[in-house]
């Protein structure tokens, strides 16, 4: 298979983008990525757009052709990818495959979501559609509810404390306070997290991501052609994509997402690396507890040791393995269809050495995207030359 490199990235500010529609958000990120890559639209041979709930929240389908046409792309294949909150991780993955297979040289991938124009109840309901409608979601279970159940189980099974889980929010909000594209740019104290409003016990408001608008994009190029456009390509050295159960009752262990474990194993195997080789990672912290299960599922720490790892500073900016230096979903916001590529945006910045919270000497980075209640996950490992 041919090598694949990222030669350009773009990302809009995340948050409430009043008056900016979903296509304009996507166009903004795509333009930035193409400009960054110094690639004219005429060279783009395919386009994948990750998006989850545009029909439900802004009554817009057919997003990929609409965005692509307005971007000025030619009569090329353009495909919208839906995998709940992992939509643009999957879009990235498919762009990689198209180049690795030799079918294309240059592919544009993007992700977008417009959420703040809808009522909170409608957003909660739309997001819940990623769960299993025939069993759990008809009960009135929600995404926060699912992670509330997982959090309570993790605390019971491993002795993880409420404080340890809350420290994820404190860490990520601190990281995000330096990120001008983050939805939340104010740090929070642990007491504020622990005293914030209960959403789905034991999960509280500051354990959750905000509802945000945003888009992110990347230009992928065959590694052997990358030098024509940039002297600092970032190589995609591992790509994993796997499914797991979409329901809690079908999970063998309520604290493990099988999709993340399998996607990580695929990516590590392809890269010929182990978890200890990763210098920096962006993981899917849709809720505080999700960062703890993620660092366990990705093999950074043993199952059950995620809480103490956070409390001991392992995952802090100056720790042994900085996790979510961008501020993560908890701070940046979680425009669901854009999240996977916003993680790639941060990792590319880290490996170029130009990130806001730069991890010193970062050579190898990992991005972990999770969709639904564990139904699908992608893991990508990127490396600087």
């Amino acid at each position: 298979m041919r090598g694949v490199s990222v030669i350009g990235v773009g990302c809009t500010p995340f948050g409430k983008q009043t008056g900016v529609g979903i296509t304009d958000l996507a166009l903004q990120a795509c333009r930035e990525a193409l400009h960054d890559a110094r690639v004219p639209t005429s060279l783009v041979q395919a386009f994948y757009l990750g998006n989850f709930v545009s029909e439900a929240l802004v009554h817009q389908g057919s997003l990929a052709p609409i965005v692509a046409y307005r971007l000025g792309l030619g009569p090329i294949p353009c495909t919208r990818v839906e995998g709940a909150c992992a939509s643009s991780g999957i879009a990235f993955r498919h762009g990689v495959l198209l180049i690795a297979s030799g079918l294309c040289d240059i592919v544009l991938v993007a992700g977008v979501e417009k959420m703040t124009s809808a009522e909170t109840g409608a957003v909660t309901e739309a997001l819940a559609s990623a769960g299993d409608a025939e069993s759990e979601m008809r009960l009135g279970l929600t995404f926060p509810g699912t992670f509330g159940i997982i959090m309570r189980r993790h605390m019971y099974q491993y002795g993880t404390t409420r404080e340890q889980v809350g420290m994820v929010s404190v860490k990520n909000r601190s990281n995000g306070s330096a990120n001008p594209k983050a939805h939340f740019q104010q740090p929070v104290a642990l007491e504020e997290v622990l005293e914030s409003r209960l959403i789905c016990d034991p999960l509280r408001l500051y354990d959750c991501t905000p509802i945000s608008d945003g888009a992110a994009a990347a230009v992928l190029c065959a590694t052997d052609l990358a030098a024509e456009f940039t002297d600092r390509p970032i190589d995609v050295i591992g790509s994993g994509h796997a499914i797991g159960p979409a329901t809690l009752f079908e999970m063998a262990d309520l604290t493990t997402f099988e999709a993340s474990v399998a996607a990580a194993q695929q990516a590590y195997r392809e890269a010929g690396l182990a978890p200890c080789d990763i210098d920096v990672a962006e993981v899917h912290d849709c809720f505080t507890i999700a960062e703890i299960t993620a660092i366990e599922d990705l093999g950074f720490v043993e199952k059950g040791k995620g809480g103490p790892a956070v409390a001991d500073g392992l995952t802090a900016l100056d720790g042994k393995l900085p996790i979510n230096p961008s501020g993560g979903l908890l701070s940046k916001g979680h425009p669901v269809g854009a999240t996977g590529l916003a993680q790639i945006y941060e990792i590319v910045g880290q490996l170029r050495g130009e990130a806001i919270n730069q991890v010193k000497g970062a050579q190898i980075g990992l991005a972990h995207n999770l969709g639904g209640t564990g139904a699908v996950s992608t893991v990508h490992i990127l490396k600087r030359r």
Partner: protein, 109 residues
């Protein structure tokens, strides 16, 4: 206390047991799935209280949703009724109470 049997589903070929009705067996692929009656007894694997519901459930909040380990070795996600003055805990026994339009309801015992 009234005791209702809880309906689950079993593969006629490999005897795999499922909490959700199956089109065909996800373990062996066989087409015949039979309805089986379970005791409806189990223990709480975990639970939450939904305080911010989806629009369709507005007005019902707060309500509890639990994952229950049934005695027959099957896990089910269900609404949970907690009697007044009680507090639920992981490992507490629960029993199937009734089927509602939105799904099963178990009661903490």
């Amino acid at each position: 206390m009234r005791m209702a049997s809880f309906e689950a589903f079993a593969c006629d070929a490999c005897k795999g047991l499922f909490a959700k009705r199956q089109h065909s067996c996800r373990r062996c692929g066989a087409p015949t799935i039979l309805s089986v009656n379970l005791s409806g007894r189990g223990t709480l694997a975990s639970f939450t209280t939904i305080r911010v519901p989806p629009t369709v459930f507005l007005g019902q909040e707060p309500y509890d949703v639990a994952v229950i380990d049934l005695d027959e070795g099957l896990r089910v996600t269900t609404r949970l009724t907690v009697p007044d003055g009680r507090e639920a805990g992981i490992g507490d026994p629960a029993i199937f109470e009734e089927m509602r339009p939105y799904g099963p309801v178990f009661r903490l015992i």
